[in-house]
């Protein structure tokens, strides 16, 4: 393109906008639904529809293992997946700050297409706006998504009952650690990367193996601690987890120790917490391990009748303490 930075003209809807569309957006996203370039997309759905939206404002925009585009696709795909749906179509709205490098935009949209392909979703419609320098932080992305609810499933905290097992799909805190390392210029081993990933194929396998799964949640902002507390309150049950069973990479624990964080509260972008009847737990674990994102899946605790509304943790040395609801954003602008 003539200009290597996004200008206000790129968002003005005229010829220059069209250039951005033809040279950057369509080459990345292009598909039969989008290519019609109508005001909106017309799509066919099979029955009950899941619908979600989320906005992405992460800083830094590029971090170990990913970028804001990867988050924007995976985040919405996962939100749909956690409702027990098969994600189908996604919309992408971008608010770009004047002066944003076209090259970075290309990297972001290319990543988005790649993640959409992996998840098996179609970018069906979109919008691009440009705002004056200083009015946005590089780029903000909003994605909305719709999906077909998998028939016969019923995801609701009200289905959580004492005796159910709590399953976690893998190592926690990686995403937040990667972001914090990027922000504070902390050198981490290359192994610490965002865990950002589309989980819809894994959750589909889980639900096919065990349609009686009570709850699926992705522990993003607020981490595993927030998810467990929300479910404990909503289900009026207690939850007791075992510290020794929660997988944390030593490097992530190291960053936490350095910055005074607890990994249980750190955001994840490619993890899933499931509440399943005890008799289905093994089936669910087996289904999870068929996915590259569920290789480390394990039972971390169970639902209890005692201490309703509360999350307890059996500590490494055998004590018990409470895992409280996080108070606020410990690391802002994480996704």
């Amino acid at each position: 393109m003539a200009n290597d930075r996004v200008t206000l003209a790129h968002g003005a809807g005229g010829k220059v906008s069209q250039e951005l569309m033809e040279q950057v957006i369509l080459p990345a996203y292009g598909n039969p639904v989008l290519n019609t370039l109508h005001d909106g997309a017309l799509v066919k759905m099979s029955g009950e529809v899941a619908f979600t939206t989320d906005s992405y404002v992460v800083q830094p925009l590029f971090f170990a293992g990913g970028n804001i585009g990867k988050l924007a696709i995976c985040g919405t795909v996962n939100d749909l997946a956690m409702t027990g749906a098969v994600p189908r179509y996604i919309s992408v709205g971008m608010i770009i700050e004047e002066g944003f490098p076209i090259k970075d935009l290309q990297t972001i949209v290319t990543t988005m297409r790649k993640m959409a392909d992996e998840a098996g979703v179609v970018i069906a419609t979109g919008d691009t706006k440009v705002v004056e320098k200083g009015k946005a932080d590089g780029i903000f992305i909003n994605t909305a998504g719709i999906g077909d609810k998998i028939p016969g499933t019923d995801i609701s905290p009200l289905n959580v009952k004492p005796g159910m097992k709590v399953i976690l799909s893998g190592y926690i805190g990686d995403h937040a650690a990667a972001i914090m390392a990027g922000r504070h210029n902390i050198n981490l081993p290359a192994s610490v990367q965002t865990d950002c990933a589309p989980l819809n194929k894994m959750t589909k396998a889980m639900l096919e193996a065990a349609p009686d799964i009570a709850v699926l949640r992705d522990p993003t902002r607020g981490g595993v601690a927030a998810v467990l507390n929300e479910i404990a309150v909503a289900s009026k049950c207690g939850i007791l987890i075992d510290e020794d069973d929660i997988p944390i990479h030593p490097e992530v624990q190291g960053v936490c120790d350095m910055l005074g964080f607890d990994p249980l509260y750190l955001a994840n972008e490619g993890k899933c917490v499931a509440f399943v009847p005890a008799e289905s737990a093994e089936k669910v674990l087996k289904a999870m391990r068929t996915s590259p994102y569920g290789q480390e899946a394990r039972i971390i605790g169970e639902v209890t009748a005692e201490a309703p509304g509360t999350v307890g943790l059996r500590t490494g040395i055998g004590g018990i303490r409470v895992v409280d609801m996080p108070l606020g954003n410990i690391v802002p602008r994480i996704c």
Binding site: T310, G316, I317, G318, R321
Partner: protein, 371 residues
């Protein structure tokens, strides 16, 4: 070198220690009370659920180990008064923002337009001073022996770089003098001290000896792993049973008897002991640090004295007593009701290392899990 224990071995070892501590403590025929005087220990103890694991005969009580919590109202009032000046930028650790003074807090001053910057190290305030040559940058130097060397090093760096617009508002505190105050306090009953790990890394173990021997109360320096704390507790019980009172070191990997002479030398070059006020304990002789005459030009109270009228409000907040280990947070009428981490009234709830915050966060005081 001992090999690292597996998690299962660690749990077994911890349970063995708990049992030994209980059996030995029972031979004294009374309940033993040990105090930790370090906020990091407080948090480590709660995080591990240690208190609930201990036998009936041993009780842990938290002391004045959180630097933010022990900072008195008048210091906060001064900081706020400086913050409200147009020619001042305050640089501070984030915890200080919410600590109440007698009338308001730094947070309120910030909302009102005061320029207050959160830093992660005192050294960060040097960059702020360089970027704002027309402003006086004041770092709120709060902390124990652990942080004093960094504050002192910052002063030395500012001197070396010819920076003339960086100042300290000092409330540095020393641990041994306040231990003496606690031991002289008739309301405080302590059978021994879990001595702070980080402070001891800097000071070494010798600094506690005079007070430990004078009051014949055992002390053990420990690390922050639950098993290290339990080993320290076992040693404390052993000393009590034998009628001994000495300083022992359970953290030998990290804490040397002589401490860190380089750090101590930096502190001593810039600072000298002075009397200072502690929340809930009043002025404690020689328990603080002030800048020596040669560095008085970095002391904002010398350069630009400020008068504040501190009339401590009478509230139901019992932080002063909580800090001395006389009452537990549960006995404060505000705890968990009017005073919670999101709406903290007392400083012990404000700081993450505060006793009330730890009680609240890790659940004790609200309920015991499963009971």
């Amino acid at each position: 070198m001992k090999e690292k224990l597996t998690k299962a071995e660690e749990r077994e070892f911890a349970q063995e220690l708990v049992q030994k501590i209980g059996e030995l403590a029972a031979t004294t025929g009374r309940k033993l009370r040990f105090m930790e005087v370090c906020g990091t220990h407080t948090v480590a103890i709660f995080r591990a659920g240690l208190r609930q694991m201990l036998p009936e005969t041993v009780e842990l009580v938290s002391g004045p180990g959180c630097p933010v919590c022990v900072t008195p109202d008048d210091y906060m009032d001064k900081a706020i008064a400086y913050a409200q000046r147009d020619d001042v930028i305050i640089a501070t650790f984030g915890d200080m923002l919410k600590v109440p003074g007698s009338k308001s807090s730094l947070n309120e001053a910030k909302t009102g337009g005061a320029d207050i910057r959160i830093v992660y190290s005192p050294m960060d305030s040097i960059a702020i001073a360089k970027d704002n040559p027309d402003k006086k940058v004041i770092f709120l130097a709060v902390g124990f022996e652990t942080t004093a060397p960094t504050a002192a090093a910052t002063v030395l760096a500012a001197e070396q770089q010819g920076i003339t617009n960086l100042f300290m508002l000092s409330a540095q505190k020393l641990v041994p003098p306040v231990m003496e105050v606690l031991l002289n306090d008739e309301e405080v009953h302590v059978d021994g001290f879990i001595l702070p790990g980080h402070v001891s890394v800097v000071t070494g173990t010798g600094v506690y000896k005079p007070v430990i021997e004078k009051y014949h109360v055992p002390g053990v320096v420990t690390g922050f792993e639950p098993v290290q704390i339990l080993r320290g507790l076992y040693r404390l019980v052993q000393q009590v049973v034998k009628g001994e009172a000495k300083v022992e070191n359970e953290y030998t990997d990290v804490v040397k008897p002589e401490g860190n002479p380089v750090s101590m030398a930096i502190t001593n070059k810039v600072y000298e002991p002075c009397d200072t006020g502690w929340r809930g304990m009043g002025v404690v002789p020689l328990s603080g640090l002030k800048m020596r005459d040669e560095y008085a030009r970095f002391d904002i109270e010398e350069v630009l004295p400020v008068e504040v009228e501190t009339i401590t409000k009478k509230t139901a907040c019992r932080c002063g007593e909580v800090l001395r280990g006389i009452v537990t947070p549960k006995e404060c009428p505000l705890f968990g009701k009017a005073c919670v981490p999101t709406h903290a009234i007392g400083p012990c709830m404000v700081s993450v290392e505060g006793v009330c915050a730890a009680w609240y966060k890790y659940g004790q005081g609200r309920f015991a899990y499963g009971k």
